[in-house]
Symmetry: C2
Subunit: 331 residues, 2 copies
DNA sequence: CTGAAAGCGCTTACAG
DNA sequence: CTGAAAGCGCTTACAG
């Protein structure tokens, strides 16, 4: 393996001079030496040892992306898209990405400390552990979709509540009077709760209600939820699904039982994934801009990396309803 | 930050004794000291510095996953699922995952060398650069879906050709006589070419053909391909799409133009992603077992990590046709 | 079972 | 503009 020392020997200078050239501190080295050293670096194919650099400079150039979940969190298109955009942005800035899946706060700290990560990005729900994570890790930490009440948390989120409101309003505008909410998770995260809250509040405001037995969340497969939904006394016609994936499964389950969408059941999803355009009917959904979200995540992270004294930021991106064909007009 | 030295001082022993305990070399330390040191480690929250470890031991415990593509390769569900399974397996074994997106071989080497990665996994097409990558990186390298003719390459792939054959046979069995092939990529990777070859060969064997103008690949959106397809003179009724994503888009485009699937056009996909069950009609497809594939990738990698002299392995997993509702019977 | 010495490949901080 | 010294936090290899 080629080291600074090898280059130095070949060039007849000290390792410091080579180090300066490698780190592009050109003002500190004579032009003559710069040229000579650069040539030798190229010739020998020198690649700096990041561990050594990290150890001596206390700067690892590693960004860790911590994703909640211990199964395969990348089976969620949302997580996959976010991670992809993040890796891209991290690379662009000359940093490296480590990926770690975990639910446990202690593992987070272990991971970040052992590699001396310079910053970390969190995808998924870490509400319970945010305080502890922040206490133990004095590096820029960017959370996403957090509803923590702790101050001083960098967070990039979206207006989940408004998403729920928009869904309700769209259903109402189209004449619906009986509603249901379907959540994909066993555990109702704050994100899902907010979407539900917005939906429910907007319904109430318009004089409608969301009966408890029309909120489907726990321990059911999509098909079981649909069974329950369809056997309800006050049959809902307007179903708000908390995510596009959930909406897609819901629609498939409805069709399988012989129902028509949107004629028998209208459905609105959340996220605006590509799949929305490719199912039938195309899915009316609440759109969040994942690329923009990732961009903010990266900007806030690298701003804080440059200046650790920057105040924390809580960026809430807007959402909008994208109308497609999964909601019918009712008289 | 807590270091070995701090623990050593507190315990009244040398750093070596602490190092032994940290590395669980218990047979080399007295029970008394093990207990004392472990307690102090816990008390002070000591976390070993991976960079220092890597530098002195020449063992980084880093596995790099290199994914082909410079846009967002994780927008492909296949890549996302594979990466997710890999991260999981790497973590299970106490290693760490770095992710890097690139098309360029020089970047690969730079990345692997600078972090002294102990092994690397390649997702996507690296055919052109495999030789160079292998020459420059003397660590276990696992490629996936490679058709390189270079010997001595670890590769985990699937029987793409057979997938094409199965698709053709299924169409023929259902009475179809006019066929088309739709590829998602501008550039026809070997993987896609093999799927096409199997399809075409099986058609020929049964006395059918695949006209050149029924092979759609270059520089067209899904909709444009469909336009071309539907305006063909010898109208195909059986469309083999090289991936499920491509099939999904094809079906959506067909429906948009007012055609019925499978009655007007029957479609077979490839991969067996979750989405197959959630579109209408549910998608008949060639199934590959992504979890199993990832498992082999990890096994071959870590086997080679334990024993660098192991012979290279080229594992080809089987595929099978999963029948759903996107292929109609024709008389 | 224990530890002192040397070194991994860099950078920081300083002297010239 | 240049370099010698010290050190980052570990492990290897050896001596006892």
């Amino acid at each position: 393996m080629v080291t600074l020392k090898d280059i130095a020997k070949e060039a007849g200078v000290s390792v410091m001079t080579v180090s300066r050239v490698v780190n592009q501190r050109y003002s500190e080295v004579s032009e003559e030496n710069i040229a000579k050293i650069q040539e030798i670096i190229k010739k020998l194919g020198y690649i700096p040892n990041s561990s050594a650099r990290s150890l001596s400079s206390k700067s690892s150039r590693i960004i860790s992306v911590i994703i909640n979940g211990t199964h395969n969190p990348l089976s969620s298109p949302y997580n996959a898209l976010m991670l992809g955009q993040i890796v891209l942005g991290v690379q662009e800035r000359g940093y490296n990405t480590m990926v770690h899946f975990t639910d446990e706060y202690s593992e987070v700290t272990k991971h970040l400390h052992s590699w001396k990560a310079e910053g970390a990005i969190f995808l998924g729900t870490f509400e319970e552990s945010i305080r502890q994570i922040q206490e133990d890790n004095k590096i820029p930490l960017i959370f996403t979709d957090s509803y923590t009440t702790i101050r001083q948390v960098n967070n990039i989120g979206i207006d989940d509540y408004k998403g729920g409101v928009l869904a309700a309003e769209h259903f109402i505008k189209n004449g619906h009077t009986n509603f249901a909410f379907i959540s994909p998770h066993l555990h109702m995260s704050q994100v899902i709760q907010q979407r539900l809250a917005g939906f429910e509040d907007a319904l109430k405001k318009a004089g409608f209600g969301l009966p408890a037995d029309c909120i489907f969340e726990p321990y059911l497969t999509a098909e079981e939820k649909i069974d329950a939904l369809c056997s309800n006394t006050a049959v809902p016609t307007a179903v708000f699904a908390a995510t596009d994936t959930c909406a897609t499964e819901t629609i498939a389950a409805l069709k399988k039982k012989g129902y028509r969408v949107p004629e028998d059941y209208s459905v609105i999803g959340f996220d605006d994934l590509d799949i929305c355009k490719n199912i039938e009917p195309t899915l009316t959904t609440i759109s969040q801009n994942i690329k923009l979200k990732a961009k903010y995540v990266l900007n806030v992270l690298f701003d804080h990396l440059q200046n650790h004294d920057l105040p924390t930021q809580n960026v809430i991106l807007d959402v909008e309803l994208v109308e497609r064909d999964s909601v019918a007009k009712v008289n």
